[in-house]
């Protein structure tokens, strides 16, 4: 297999931008119309995902270990979308037809054989991981909404019960699909530690123009059936470290940290823990009474509400990274950060600059910015 040639032909194909995935999906749907219902109405984000995955695969092709881990995740992750082993052949054919189309005269039998060989390898790793996963987990969990509570004017808590029970670690998240927006999956963190009754809380923040958050907050009633993907995410408690804990939450970044606090409360000797809960305005500090109650019941926990932009509010005022940094020295702490992109990035940078070792900083980026 001539890897340099595969890479250079891919670079040439990639020059055509969005036309490439557009051609690929049209080719696939024409040859195999039964695959169309596996995708959402708008394919815009889907095309970007495909190109991103292809770029990752092609650039990691020399590092078999990393590539295998990526492909195994990809294979497992595709189960919830309804991808079956027999779909992989159809995808391979359309991918090769697309590459041939955009390579033009440069496409020859040798290049085709190389690409086919590469694709078969990729597909076999992905389907292998999916098959192993099948023995352990369902492709997705059926979840029934059993309670709905408005925590702030733009944050709703959904409580669901899953069938079968979903095993996860506090701090992890799952992708959620609502029947109101079929084939659109969005990640949300569980806001509680695992309970005996297998119920899960999610904090859903209404995002302006967000298709799924809108459907989950405004369009979901008790009794609604959702689908949950397998638990994911590496923001989990390093319980054996012996270090004290600093948590910084922005907006609904509170959810995973609240789950971890519940986990800390079950320990025989919980570490000292500080939770800074930040929001732009005072009324964005939802769930504060519950947190304060938790702090009153547990002497090892201190909760500090922070309002970033002016106006009177409970707790402290100022940019979250500044308030945290000026409060104490955190270099001996395990740090857990969750929330909007800017807040997580700035807080992590500030704490690292203050001398917190990077290995002690754990983050969950919620991927949106606070209005």
């Amino acid at each position: 297999m001539d890897i340099a040639r595969l890479k250079s032909s891919f670079a040439r194909i990639a020059m055509h931008g969005d036309e490439v995935p557009l051609h690929f999906y049209a080719d696939l749907f024409l040859k195999h119309p039964e695959t169309r219902p596996l995708f959402p109405v708008s394919m815009q984000a889907q095309r970007a995902h495909l190109v991103e995955a292809l770029v990752t695969i092609v650039s990691a092709v020399d590092d078999v270990h990393d590539l295998t881990a990526f492909l195994r995740d990809l294979g497992r992750g595709h189960r919830k979308f309804g991808a079956l082993a027999e779909h992989y052949g159809a995808v391979g054919d359309s991918l090769l037809a697309t590459f041939a189309y955009f390579c033009g005269e440069a496409w020859d039998a040798e290049l085709e054989a190389d690409w086919r060989g590469a694709y078969e390898l990729i597909a076999s790793v992905m389907t292998g991981a999916a098959r192993e996963d099948e023995e352990r987990h369902p492709a997705w969990w059926a979840a029934t909404v059993i309670a709905q509570e408005r925590l702030a004017y733009d944050v709703t808590q959904l409580t669901v019960r899953t069938e079968p029970r979903l095993e996860y670690l506090p701090g992890q998240s799952v992708a959620i699909e609502t029947p109101a927006r079929p084939r659109l999956w969005r990640y949300y963190s569980m806001a509680n530690a695992p309970r005996p009754d297998a119920t899960l809380d999610f904090h859903i923040r209404l995002i302006d123009g967000g298709a799924v958050s809108m459907a989950l907050t405004a369009g979901t009633v008790v009794g609604a059936e959702l689908r949950l993907g397998p638990p994911a995410g590496a923001l989990t408690l390093d319980a054996g470290s012996g270090r004290d804990v600093l948590m910084v939450a922005g907006s609904t970044g509170l959810a995973p940290l609240k789950a971890m606090l519940e986990q800390l409360a079950t320990l025989a000797k919980p570490p000292r823990a500080h939770l800074f809960f930040g929001s732009r305005t005072a009324d964005g500090l939802y769930d504060l009474t519950v947190l304060e109650k938790l702090a009153a019941e547990n002497s090892w926990l201190t909760v500090v509400p922070v309002v970033s932009s002016g106006g009177p509010g409970p707790g402290r005022t100022g940019p979250l990274p500044d308030v945290v940094s000026e409060y104490a020295s955190w270099s001996g702490h395990d740090v857990y950060l969750a929330g909007p992109t800017g807040m997580v990035r700035d807080s992590a940078a500030r704490l690292a600059a203050d001398g917190v070792p990077v290995v002690q900083i754990h983050v969950e980026d919620f991927g949106w910015s606070e209005p």
Partner: protein
């Protein structure tokens, strides 16, 4: 294309290189371009390059098709207008363009819904701000009035010198609280009624709007 030409092709400026171009920053005190407009322009150049590359590719396909047609004619076979592959490529193009249209509709709808919630958020902040301001004013007025009432009680007590000082203080406190509570409650009632009226007004307007929408129920 020969293999040399192929590798030469790789060294040309590509949209990818334009997109990922990084320029060193100027040192303080020296003149340099602002980063944002440069990035925006590069994004434009990159998009234009992709467009040109795709136009060139489809022209190349067209040349190939016409070449086959001419060759077919020379061979006395003028029925070859489109080969089997051409038909498929045409179908792919039609489906692609339909998909793009669908994507645009969804994106427009989402942008519209985003604008609506953004406006609602701004309106809510405004109303909450006004309410807070109003409440502050009411509180201040109630305090002033109560203070006046308390002073009046003390003045009354001076007229009747037989009561001791402690008792006067308690009476003054009571009068303050009573008046404060009365004034505040009265204001609150008026304000709440006002807010409820406004909400009812909005609701009836909204119902009317829904009724007027074709297909609305």
């Amino acid at each position: 294309m020969t293999s040399d030409a192929w590798y030469d092709e790789q060294r040309r400026l590509t949209p990818d290189r334009v997109q990922s171009a990084v320029f060193p920053l100027t040192r303080w005190g020296r003149h340099g371009y602002e980063e944002e407009p440069v990035r925006a322009f590069l994004a434009e150049v990159q998009a234009e390059m992709v467009r040109l590359i795709n136009e060139r590719a489809s022209l190349w396909q067209e040349v190939q098709r016409l070449r086959r047609r001419v060759l077919g004619k020379e061979n006395g076979n003028d029925a070859i207008l489109f080969g089997k592959d051409d038909a498929h490529v045409h179908a792919v193009r039609i489906l692609s363009s339909a998909q793009r249209t669908a994507d645009r509709y969804v994106a427009d709808a989402q942008a519209y819904s985003g604008r609506l919630t953004e406006e609602a958020r701004a309106r809510r902040d405004e109303i909450m701000g006004q309410a807070q301001h109003h409440a502050d004013l009411m509180l201040e007025e109630a305090r002033t009035r109560a203070r006046e009432a308390a002073v009046a009680v003390i003045d009354d007590a001076r007229v009747a010198p037989q009561t001791d000082q402690e008792r006067r203080a308690v009476q003054a406190e009571l009068a303050y609280l009573r008046t404060f509570s009365e004034v505040y409650r009265q204001h609150l009632k008026i304000y709440t009624e006002d807010v409820l009226r406004t909400i009812e007004d909005w609701e009836s307007k909204e119902r009317a709007a829904v009724r007027d929408t074709p297909g609305g129920a």
